[in-house]
Amino acid sequence: MMAGRVAYMELRTGWKGLLIFSLLILVISVGIVQIFPTFRDSMIEELEGANKVSLELPEEQGGNITLSWESLDNASSYMVLEDTRLSMVTAKLKYAGRETSITFEKNFEEKRYYSVMALLNETSDPMLIGIATTEKGENPFQELMQNPFYKAFTGGRNINMLETKGFITLEFFSWWWMFAGLFIAYLSVSIVASDFENRHMDVLLSTPVSRRHYLIEKFTAMTITAFLVILVATAGLAGGLASINALNEFPLDIVFLSLIGCLPFLMLITAVGILTAVLFQKVRAGMGITFAFVFAEFFLLAFGGFSKSLEWMKTVSIFKYWDYSSVIIDGSFKAGDFLLLTILAIALLIIGIQIFQKKDIPA
């Protein structure tokens, strides 16, 4: 038989879906970059808001802390909440009254947060004036951005959302895996399982195409598709960055390297999709399992970032081996991880082939 025919047919029949998906990627990748300037400006405004509250620390333990804030014309009274957590979920009322400054003794060691709110005359809802912390030089608003959920994905790196790189890392890549991953998962299951469901497998395998060859070609078609998707996303992001004059800060090669890192990640999802399609021979069953795999791997990484004792979870998550923030923030591409995922994907494909060769094709 002529090599590449099955892969070619797959790409030929699937080009419309790929085109629609590519357009969607373009719109979203260009669009997200466009949001950045507005986001940055509003964030700076909010950060300035935090400066409306000032906190003076004593020189030594046991001295007094002075917390003061700007008065508001329409405020009837003010309220200060105190907590050891920035989330303020266990906050206690520290002060309620008309003063715009309070002084109290520092009789604690740990870091504390103070949230100052104004109670307005005309509404019952309090309005946030600002947040202050007892840690010198820290901005609680920036700290809010360092959610442990995010931290898992940035490899513990400090991401500045006010820079293009930081914004793209968190706002584009934190959903890109799902967008591209689930698209590839869906396609890789259906290109094999639909041949079973359409009763087309009998005809295909009555030609001199071996089962091994068949699966390798399907895998190749999916790898090409994943590569095209990455190219489109690169074009979209780079185009978006060029339009806001940010390509000098976040150059094209870094955009490409950060995205190409997900090629073996997508290849691995493809291999899982093909494996489940071969095992279950049904689009729905295969897709359910492949989607579950992608999400399970994601949560392994996310939960692994919550505490030191859970770090082992990260090691078994495929997400750990696609470290886009390493490329974007540190400028280093982890070729070892790239290779590891590629080898894993090929190993899974080989297992899929072994299973397929032993399975009966349902009549």
Partner: protein
């Protein structure tokens, strides 16, 4: 003359869990013949055919095709084999011609000279989209794809069910032409008349085992055909007690008889009367089993 065996199936057993697909099945298809594989639905025809093409793994037994092992050398066998599955499915939303060319390319063949005339003879529009085809037209695509690469062996699972009578005729002509070009054809059916029309030999399968392999002519002689004639004038049963005629009955101005041979003589006898209506029928598969294998069935029951 010793016939060359193109397909040789020895003690084939296929189990689906506890369910028996076929059991100790033995069958040989000779080079250059059209072998019909006849049996009711669920008898094991499809299981046998799909085992030959290694689409399913056999539980036990041996299948040799072109002298090659059906599983180990499956790809080499498929290079020279065309196959029409019983439930033929295709890629949706492509042009039929593109789809057929694609299947040709999988056989390493770019020649389409056989595809076009076949489509013309079967009255199939190659410019249609595969998802727009009726069941009959899909079957035509299936027939074309099985034949277009000019394979030495053609295996077809129920190729006639779904074709209208005119198309069936054309299909049978095509198969005979293939045979005349030296091709070997192995086709299954559950319709006796379709097998009779085109096959040289027939293997009858029931409950996963080949019960008999017979030349079509012998089968016809043994089973015969049922002639039913309605006369417009008086007649006697004795007039039709001729050589090769059996089971003569009279029924309200009609005569019903089974003809094994000597059709000429019967026609002569019938033409002595005024004929109002006449009907010559082939036995249905079930009637054939009842008639031809009743003895076998009885002995099976006797053994039980």
């Amino acid at each position: 003359m010793i016939e060359e065996k193109l397909i040789e199936i020895e003690n084939l057993t296929k189990m689906y869990g506890n369910h028996v697909g076929v059991k100790d099945l033995n069958l040989a298809v000779h080079k250059g013949e059209i072998m019909g594989f006849l049996g009711p639905n669920g008898a094991g025809k499809t299981t046998t055919i799909r085992s030959c093409l290694a689409l399913i793994a056999k539980t036990a037994g041996k299948i040799t095709i072109f002298g090659l092992d059906s599983h180990r050398d499956s790809v080499a066998i498929r290079e020279k084999t065309g196959y029409l599955p019983g439930d033929f499915g295709l890629i949706p939303s492509v042009k039929v011609s593109s789809y057929l060319k694609y299947l040709l390319s999988l056989r390493g063949c770019e020649r389409t000279e056989k595809m076009m005339p076949l489509a013309k003879r079967l009255e199939l529009d190659l410019n249609r989209k595969t998802n727009e085809l009726s069941k009959g037209n899909k079957l035509k695509v299936g027939i074309i794809q099985a034949l277009m690469a000019d394979p030495d062996l053609i295996i077809m699972d129920e190729p006639t069910s779904g074709l209208d009578p005119l198309m069936k005729q054309e299909f049978c002509r095509i198969l005979r032409e293939e045979k005349n070009h030296g091709k070997t054809i192995f086709m299954s059916s559950h319709i006796l008349a379709d097998v009779e029309r085109v096959c040289d030999r027939v293997a009858i399968i029931r409950k996963g085992q080949v019960k008999v392999v017979e030349e079509i002519q012998t089968l016809q002689e043994k089973t015969g055909k049922v002639l039913e004639v309605e006369f417009g004038d008086p007649f006697t049963i004795d007039e039709f007690k001729l050589e090769g005629v059996s089971e003569i009955q009279e029924d309200n101005g009609r005569i019903i008889m089974t003809i094994h041979e000597n059709l000429d003589g019967v026609i002569d006898a019938v033409s002595n009367h005024r004929i109002l209506n006449m009907n010559l029928k082939t036995y249905s598969l079930e009637q054939l089993f009842l008639k031809y294998y009743r003895a076998g069935e009885d002995s099976e029951r006797g053994d039980a």
